[in-house]
């Protein structure tokens, strides 16, 4: 089967005016990537690393300076309109909905825009409303929605025409834990039932861990890492952290298998243990802790994505 | 008192500098004002000629002065009714303004006047240069120059203070765009932007004179074009001062009422 995204030497330069002088800035530099249908790819990098520029080239908004790109087997700039029927994009920052119209109305317009037959429109809308739990606010104007509700509506709007490729730009930014969780579950289900390919940029390691089986890291427009999460963990040594609140003061919890004691607070009432996600699981570490002391509460902290990126960047220099 | 003067002096300067950042906009304004100016020349000169060389005290030279001076003032006289205060009332920022040890009305008007004075440089001078090039009538009496400069300043302040009234209507109205557009339409017409008000039918001219709009643009031009002598100029200045007191006083009263309204409604 042919690739859903394929770039060869993809490069994009901008001319920026720096006071009086003009200078060339390379936003994407010689990017060669192939994404197969059904993959879920996290596209990660610092602000200004070239993520948005890449997405704009994949969708035909920007013309590459050099190199080639095909998306869904089409040339994005030349075949923009045909491509639009196969791609759905969610921009975390800009809305595709009509802010003064009820959500349902926006969906109807989008169905007309994508020329969905009436039966398909009904079925797909019902599916999305059900899976994204939007029934409560279907008749609310978009401008009155909470951020979480709006984001769900945005995702539904981008996926209404059942695109083969879904690109999500910071989909969970600013969302509360529950909303994030819901959105992730939806995307997992969507991928499972429709075989949709996912490409998402994010600052949230949780998104990557729950959703992606492949990670691309971009640094100053260049591809810095392409591989799975296990490899990323190995490459960076980034670890997850188990934080436990204990019932009574206890000595430091050292000697837990595959885990390392980081710190204790308030006479050991709160302790932090880091562990390598590849060597063990949070459940196993927790079980080992619970055998020794009585635990009141616990949380698992994900490695900070900025930290992972920083380590990758540092390793390259 | 001196500290107070300094504050307003600085606000004036800030308004002046802020305008100076919009260079391309100023160029666009120049093109626009010249184009409209040429269209006005065509139709108004034809009117003067059709009337046998003089219409309501305007010969070709005075009409030229009227046209290029009114185009020169376009960037400085607020005939649009658009103000910063309207935005700040809408987004609630005005509550912060009330906390400052400044008079909200005076601060707003001063800043806007600063911007308006700056606009005279990129937008006013080129229009006057065109007028000078094609020929304008100038007043016979040298006293007319300081009088028209004063009248011009008063005109700018009146226009800004009157537009402020539209802005503060936002304390009571949810949406001020409708009134603002109505204001823009009526003010330009009655200020004599497209046709000098002396060319109006008598009843319409009297209607215009019953509003502050001719004080913004028409009267300064009348003085500089020499359509009125020094005595007439002093009368027009007195009328301008009266209108300034009226719109200024009303603005002050509305600002206070608006503040009370905010305190009661809780913003």
């Amino acid at each position: 089967m042919s690739a859903i995204v394929e770039t060869r030497g993809l490069t994009r330069e901008f001319t920026v005016r720096d006071g009086r002088r003009r200078r060339r800035l390379t936003a994407v530099d010689d990017l060669t990537v192939r994404v197969e249908p059904g993959e879920a790819v996290g596209y990660i990098g610092a602000n200004g690393a070239g993520k948005s520029t890449t997405i704009k080239m994949l969708t035909g908004i920007l013309v590459p300076t050099s190199g080639t790109v095909t998306t869904c087997g089409l040339r994005p700039v030349k075949d923009r309109r045909r491509l639009a029927r196969q791609v759905g994009v969610v921009f975390g920052q800009r809305s595709q909905l009509w802010w003064d119209l009820p959500v349902r109305e926006s969906f109807r317009i989008l169905a007309a825009i994508h020329a969905l037959p009436a039966a398909t429109e009904r079925a797909r809308t019902a599916e999305l409303v059900d899976r994204l739990e939007m029934a409560d606010f279907l008749t609310t104007p978009v401008r009155q929605l909470s951020l979480g509700q709006r984001m769900r509506a945005e995702v539904a709007a981008a996926l209404l025409h059942a695109p083969r490729l879904v690109i999500l730009d910071e989909p969970t930014i600013g969302l509360d834990v529950l909303s994030k969780q819901r959105l992730r579950e939806f995307l997992i289900a969507e991928r499972r039932t429709h075989g949709t390919t996912l490409l998402l940029t994010t600052h949230d390691m949780g998104d990557v861990q729950r959703l992606c089986d492949r990670v691309l890291i971009i640094d100053h427009g260049r591809l810095a890492y392409d591989g799975d999460l296990v490899g990323l963990g190995r490459a960076t040594g980034a670890e997850r952290v188990l934080v436990v609140d204990l019932v009574g003061p206890s000595p430091d919890l050292t000697g837990i298998p595959a885990a390392r004691h980081l710190s204790s607070e308030a006479h050991g009432l709160r302790q932090r243990l880091s562990f390598d996600a590849e060597a063990t699981t949070a459940a196993r570490v927790f079980a080992a802790v619970a055998e020794r002391v009585e635990v009141l509460d616990f949380t698992v902290e994900e490695p900070d994505i900025e930290d992972v990126v920083r380590r990758i960047y540092a390793a390259r220099r | 008192m001196r500290a107070m003067t300094r504050v307003y002096w600085r606000l004036l300067g800030a308004g002046f500098r802020r305008q100076s950042t919009y260079r391309l906009a100023a160029l666009g304004g120049l093109v626009a004002n010249t184009t409209f100016g040429l269209l006005k020349v065509a139709v108004l000169f034809a009117t003067v000629r059709a009337a046998g060389g003089d219409v309501a005290g305007y010969d070709l030279g005075r009409m030229s002065t009227y046209i290029w001076l009114s185009q020169a003032l376009l960037g400085s006289i607020n005939l649009s009714g658009r103000t910063d205060i309207a935005e700040r009332i809408k987004d609630g920022q005005v509550a912060v303004d009330f906390l400052r040890p400044l008079d909200v009305q005076a601060a707003e008007v001063t800043t806007a006047v600063g911007g308006a004075l700056f606009a005279l440089i990129p937008r006013g001078i080129p229009m006057l240069a065109i007028g000078g090039f094609v020929g304008m009538a100038l007043p016979a009496s040298p006293a007319a120059y300081p009088l028209s400069a004063l009248s011009l300043l008063l005109g700018i302040v009146i226009s800004v203070a009157a537009a402020y009234l539209v802005g503060v209507a936002g304390f009571w109205l949810v949406e001020t765009r409708g009134p603002q557009i109505c204001y823009m339409v009526v003010s330009g017409f009655l200020a004599g932007l497209f046709v000098p008000i002396q060319l109006f039918p008598r009843w319409l001219e009297l209607t215009a004179q019953a509003t502050p709009f001719p004080s913004m643009m028409m009267y300064p031009i009348d003085i500089l074009a020499g359509r009125v002598g020094p005595a007439g100029a002093l009368t027009l200045l007195a009328v301008q001062l009266a209108w300034l007191a009226a719109v200024g006083g009303l603005g002050q009263a509305l600002t206070r009422a608006g503040r009370r309204h905010l305190e009661v409604q809780g913003g």
Partner: protein, 286 residues
């Protein structure tokens, strides 16, 4: 779209009509919802109608006061200029109603809304043109319409197929020309930041010019608003032809029939600028 071609009926004509209807559905859906949402804010909408009506009325008054001061201007009397005003202003108002929101392109560019248009399977310009409709401008159009009807009533017109055809052609091509002006101005916003005032000089200055007797213009003005931006074709030239008035220099009366050519020229210019603008935005070859 594939399902459509497959579901073609027995007669090709029917299929084409069906295809066209489906093709127009997206635009209809957007426009209908825009219209509904504007009318639903009753109080604001009423006030918008009033201010729009007032604006057009004042524009008419600006013409009228001149003819109050003198009886004849540029060879026309007030009842004749009424026809010029009616034709030009109605055409402008209808174009403004339909595509006047192209003025908002700088806002779309700054907010990134334009990128969203790229993600939809319709042509970009068509999406922009049909992304909104400003119903309050109906009030504006009503003034132009009344002026036109009054102008037709008070003038001595040799009614016949030719006169009706001339009116229809003039109005339709005037409308198209003004629409092209809005698109042209929008296209230049890709290059000009904060430069809307410059293009406004020709769009709104064009409207002002179109309601004047073009016979009073100087030669440079005739070049700019007579031909480059073909404003004289919207009202003045068809009126000369309709009322059989003497032609001024440079503007023979047979030009009264040439509105469609003017519209074609305006659209060619608008589309060329649009093409350049989009190229610049996408960064191809720039």
């Amino acid at each position: 779209m594939i399902f459509l071609r497959r579901s073609g009926g027995p007669r090709p004509g029917v299929t084409d009509e069906l295809a066209l209807r489906v093709r127009l559905r997206p635009y209809r859906a957007v426009l209908a919802s825009r219209a509904r949402s504007q009318a639903s804010y009753r109080a604001n909408f009423a006030l918008d109608l009033v201010s729009s009506f007032l604006a057009a009325l004042v524009e008419l008054a600006e013409v009228w006061v001149l003819f109050h001061a003198v009886t004849r201007l540029g060879g026309l009397e007030f009842h004749q200029i009424l026809l010029v005003f009616g034709l030009a202003d109605l055409a402008f108002s209808l174009a403004d109603l339909a595509v006047g929101h192209c003025d908002n392109l700088p806002t779309y560019l700054r907010a990134g809304t334009l990128d969203v248009f790229y993600l939809r399977p319709q042509p970009l310009l068509l999406q922009l043109a049909t992304s909104d409709i400003t119903l309050r401008r109906l009030a504006r159009a009503s003034v132009g319409l009344v002026a036109l009807i009054a102008g037709l009533a008070v003038n001595d017109i040799a009614w016949g197929v030719g006169a009706v055809a001339l009116l229809v052609v003039a109005l339709a091509s005037g409308c198209a020309t003004f629409a092209a002006m809005f698109v042209w101005a929008g296209a230049l916003q890709f290059f000009l930041i904060d430069g809307a005032e410059m293009t406004n000089a020709f769009v709104y200055g064009g409207r002002y010019a179109a309601t004047q007797p073009a016979s009073v213009w100087s030669r440079p003005l005739k070049a700019v608003f007579g031909f480059f931006f073909p404003m004289a074709f919207a009202g003045f030239l068809p009126t000369l032809r309709l009322l059989d008035l003497p032609a001024p220099a440079w503007l023979p009366t047979w030009l009264g029939w040439c509105g469609p050519l003017a519209a074609l020229w305006a659209w060619a210019m608008a589309l060329l600028c649009w093409h350049w603008g989009v190229r610049h935005y996408r960064g191809g070859g720039g």
